[in-house]
Symmetry: C2
Subunit: 258 residues, 2 copies
């Protein structure tokens, strides 16, 4: 977890999040007001966070991984823009302003926001595997809940054709168990079935599980929404149990033997 995220959480009075993620930071919650909610309650959760912030509270809205990558940061801003709420950039100086803010009801409602960057799920997954993201890569969410499948399909085939390493998010839900296999078929149009691929579930969390395999043999049934899938590019290799995408240093420089 990012040290800055720990500090932000420690200073918060109200903490909101998806219940599974709140459990992961339980020891940091102490006697704070904790508002836990279920999946697909993202809009309600962000609205509640904004209401508490407008009421002058120091609020932490938590996401897993990086809040700026398929997390809650964007939705908070979407809602503020839609609701004409004056959200400003938080910095050390704004603490003062916040505590001294006007109670005049004619002034627009204001709060200060800071997005604290974290360790994205694909970074944690990649670290467990070795170094598969060492060269250009693309992150694609397979969820067609908010994005048309045609758009997802177009992105997958563009990324596969241009030899990007791929990190696949939301790879397989209970309601749409077939999307991952459809995605795999698209990638196989441009990539060898021997391309290294890996599933990492709950990276660096209790219940962590990983599987290093190939695009052709990917065990689709092992994948759930808490998994990230990494598919190598044409240069990615597996050596011992490490998955690595070389950047090309050793082609450029001669490295004498040890």
């Amino acid at each position: 977890m990012a040290a800055e995220a720990i500090r932000a959480l420690e200073s918060a009075e109200v903490v909101l999040g998806y219940k599974t993620y709140l459990e992961l930071v339980e020891e940091l919650l102490g006697d704070k007001t904790v508002i836990s909610s279920g999946m697909r309650k993202e809009v309600e959760r962000c609205r509640a966070a904004i209401e508490h912030a407008l009421a002058g509270k120091n609020v932490a809205l938590i996401s897993s991984g990086d809040a700026g990558i398929y997390g809650m940061a964007g939705l908070v801003l979407d809602i503020c823009r839609d609701g004409r709420i004056d959200v400003r950039k938080w910095d050390e100086a704004s603490r003062e302003t916040l505590s001294g803010k006007s109670e005049n009801p004619d002034e627009p409602r204001t709060f200060f926001l800071r997005v604290v960057p974290g360790i994205p799920a694909f970074s944690a997954a990649a670290a467990l595997l070795g170094a598969p993201l060492m060269h250009d890569f693309a992150a694609v969410s397979l969820s067609d809940h908010l994005t048309a499948w045609e758009v997802i399909e177009k992105r997958l085939s563009a990324a596969a054709q241009a030899d990007f390493v791929l990190a696949l998010y939301n790879p397989r839900s209970k309601s749409r168990p077939d999307l991952l296999d459809k995605a795999r078929q698209i990638l196989l149009r441009f990539r060898s079935p021997h391309t290294p691929a890996a599933i990492v579930r709950k990276a660096m969390r209790p219940g962590q599980w990983k599987c290093l395999t190939t695009l052709g043999d990917l065990p689709v049934e092992e994948v759930d929404m808490q998994s990230v899938i990494i598919v190598g590019n044409s240069q990615t290799y597996v050596w011992k149990d490490w998955m690595v995408t070389p950047r090309g240093y050793l082609d450029k420089y001669s490295v004498s033997e040890f």
Copy 2:
């Protein structure tokens, strides 16, 4: 910085890194052996780190951002594979094995490696801007030092065509000042000049600087190798000084006004 990276650095006896990055963690270095080197000394730096690890030292090789994204993690593995060094996955249990390892010269030389994930430069940059990486995105390095320009060009146009948000690394070196403008021209074939774009230099470090602009007006001359450039997709908006790529929640759910 990631809490786990701080702990790893604290427990290290030998720390190696590019001198600019070592300065950023100076207060964590204490009386450790510190080996600092210049740019483009990546291979030498990794080899030295491996030699110290083989000698039984607890070594930290630092990268800025995430060591697994255009960092040093992959090169260490490339060199070990090339030099037939037996590098194994580090875990708590391997500490024991390490301290009790055999001195038999016939056994292959072994050390234990752990990649500690960090906060990638694009995550730090995105957090300062708002939430531009909320939807599918691609990371592309513009450096043609190790990658053919034709490959870079192909990736840029594929990513632009498929409407990925883009994070551009190594955007402009002194020896190749023109690559960024070439990249921009490729993106402009598929994206409006009004597409929000931003330059972030030294995100969350001393000397931090950022500029929110458009793809058409991007001030190329302000960009250096310590900058990351974020180019929005067709849905990315700028509202106040926030750059946001919506995921589509508000199109799906009606959000009543505050």
